[in-house]
């Protein structure tokens, strides 16, 4: 079995995950939190069980838009997302919720983000990613070579597409912490890829005459496979523990990390190294062994 010769299938497998994600992104976009859209968000606990229709009725009475989102967690806790409230509107809403539905004041979470701040968040998040990409590209080119860095960056891009696409499919909430998640995924992905590239680099130095490059890469991947699997296992153990037993507010964040870490492990083994081989092949520096 040679992982490199099977690379066509690995690429297809990646596309099978990425393409539905992209379609979902195009059709229904993402579940942007108020960090990006601007708006108010209240997490309210009620002294008695309530339904989302009851809450929507109170919102309507306060002349708040009907497309406000109510997300129930349990029967007496709700997350209300609506337009950016002024201080008076906010106070009125909370008082109405208390009087009519028995909301417990002060509420558990009360966020208001003005629309001005959110457009800026978007721009900065994109810029942060681009700059991080560029710096990593420079570093890997400096420590390894350009084709390695290009393959590593494509692998990161793959992981981000997978994560963002699946986040859209699973409708995970995107807030400013998600930006942190994406950047962590990028960092982890490079981390994983570098370990394998490091081994390829080392084996290339000791390459026997006539040894095909795909054999060498396959060899290198297998040599580091134990480490790749064990490392991702330890991170997955921590993340799963946090998703299953941890607090609710960080759950979407942790699920994004989980997706990204699995994708990062996959792409470093099944995308980055085969891509590097293809680059070398296209440049005429390597031929397939069979």
């Amino acid at each position: 079995m040679n992982l490199i010769q099977l690379r066509k299938y690995w690429y297809i497998l990646s596309l099978l995950v990425i393409v539905p994600g992209l379609i979902s992104l195009g059709v229904r976009h993402m579940n942007f939190g108020i960090d990006f859209t601007g708006g108010s968000q209240l997490q309210v606990q009620f002294s008695r069980p309530v339904t989302d229709t009851e809450i929507l009725a109170v919102l309507a009475e306060q002349k708040l838009p009907a497309d406000s989102e109510i997300q129930m967690s349990g029967s007496n806790e709700a997350l209300i997302r609506t337009q950016a409230l002024t201080t008076t509107e906010d106070t009125n809403l909370k008082n109405a919720l208390q009087q009519q539905l028995g909301a417990v004041l002060p509420v558990q979470l009360d966020d208001m983000v003005g629309p001005a701040i959110s457009a800026e968040q978007m721009r900065n998040a994109g810029l942060a990613l681009l700059i991080a990409f560029a710096l990593m590209l420079v570093y890997i080119t400096f420590r390894f070579e350009f084709w390695f860095s290009l393959a590593a960056i494509i692998a990161i891009f793959h992981d981000i597409l997978v994560t963002v696409g699946l986040a859209s499919i699973f409708w995970l909430q995107i807030n400013s912490a998600s930006v942190a998640a994406i950047l962590t995924i990028a960092a982890y992905s490079v981390h994983d890829t570098i370990v394998i590239f490091d081994r390829i680099r080392e084996n290339v130095k000791q390459r026997k005459k006539g040894e095909p490059l795909d054999d060498l890469i396959n060899h290198s991947i297998l040599q580091t496979l134990g480490r790749s699997i064990n490392t991702v296992m330890t991170v997955l153990i921590c993340l799963l523990a946090l998703i299953l037993f941890g607090g609710v507010t960080i759950r979407d964040f942790m699920i994004m990390l989980l997706i990204g870490v699995i994708s990062g492990c996959y792409s470093s083994i099944f995308n980055a190294s085969p891509l590097w081989f293809d680059f070398k092949r296209l440049r005429g520096e390597a031929t397939a062994s069979r």
Partner: protein, 535 residues
Amino acid sequence: MAGKKHRRSTNRQQQKQVTPVTPQQETTAAGAANQQSSSKAPRPRPEAPRGSVDRARAASGAMSGGNDVGRAVGGGAGFTPANGSAGSGAPQRPQAKRPGINWSDAGILAVIVLIIALAVIFFAQPIASDLQKQLGIDLQGGVSLTYQASQLTPSTPVTAEAMNSLKNNFEKRVNGLGVTEPDIRLMAGNRIQVELPGFKDPDQAVKTLGTIAKLEFKTEGPDGKTDDGPVVLTGADLQVAKAQIDTSTNEPEVALTFNADGTKKFAQATAANVGKQIGIYLDNQLLTNPMVKEAIPSGNAVISGGYKTLQDAQNDAVLLNAGALPVQVQLLQNQSWGPTLGQAELNRSLMAGVIGLSLVLLFMLLYYRVPGIVADLSLIVYALIMAGIYILFHVTLTLPGIAAFIISVGMAVDANILIYERLKEELRAGKTLRSSFDAGFRHAFRTILDCNVNTLIGACVLLYFGSKMLNQEIMGFAVTLIIGVAVSLFTAITFTRLVLHLIVGSRLVTNPKWYGLHKWNLASALGRVPNTQQT
């Protein structure tokens, strides 16, 4: 794969023949033979002279107790089936061949383990209670407000000076709320962020901060006092207040400059009130109550005689300017966390973290065995150092920060895994334990460095943008990641290396089996190609 297996079994057969007869074969590729012969030296140097080998053998024969300990820890089974059967069946021969334990290395090792155990026992509680005091606003509850300052009129740009007086103004008002550690800071883009940890009422906070202080100049009322007298000027009339020293009397004073409107009003008020007091009130609190000596038509006045030091005058000037802010503020972001949410979330997440970390410790122990113990010790030391840094530098604990801590634990574990996987490879390639350790560490370290530098690059970019986005969560995440990566790099090259070195040096455990070379090796099951014939 079949060929590889065949090759390995050939190795074993060589060992069977070689080991008992000529233990001095330093350069053969046969791993166990090589390893056993070299580790026979009193000091764990593979190139130790022959004579010392004999002496060591004699010494180890005398120290039979030590040998028993070594075997108990190392396990009865040897690396090869032949040796293994000898180990349990005929103890005499292997005992003579077994290298003695290096008691000084073993002693240092024991002391290190003891120190870590004591540190955990004695410091766990104080660390937890110290960290409890550094909970971020999202964990302990509180209010965070972000305001955007913008120019009042097109002709008055928002200056750094104006932002500073806004900050002073906010500080004065926040003091009235009774929050123990309020945090007010100026941000890029003429923004100001006010954090009130533990404060429960966002509405009151907004009310207190949101309105511009009301500065009023009042003349004497019917009762001769200024507190309920008519208002003659407001903050909008004042252009600037400045503290200075009167050059002739050498006394501190506050110089007031009014704008065009204010100049007219002030001229009228002073003309009508010569010899009387004009009280200056900020939010209905008396700042100063100066006597009007003469009519002042120029729009420039001086409050003098009431100040002992320049600082006193400065304070009043700041307050006067605050009341006459040349900016208007607009609430951009208002976040508040109820204390119950934070506490419940924290407990849940901490419990999850403890479960996750325990599973990782268990996994490392089961999979890597002796190095797994080293990894677990390293992780404990890592956690202690992180906690120490958190306390020393008052790093605020936030939810994303805890997430970053867990990721950084993953990276710290990865450093260990990289070293041990490399160690196993070198052992498999037939090197001695000692040289496997050296080579494994050297190779792994370069990889670890490259990985971590890349993560640092990512985290620094994150930190920079977090500060630009005024996002405390992202900043907390980035800071934790940066500290975590740095500390994990540090523990990998110092502690992990030292302890592994001591374990190898002490010869408490010499059987490669206990260094992770066991049968149910995942990677070899998946068809790993051994790293043979390498230097």
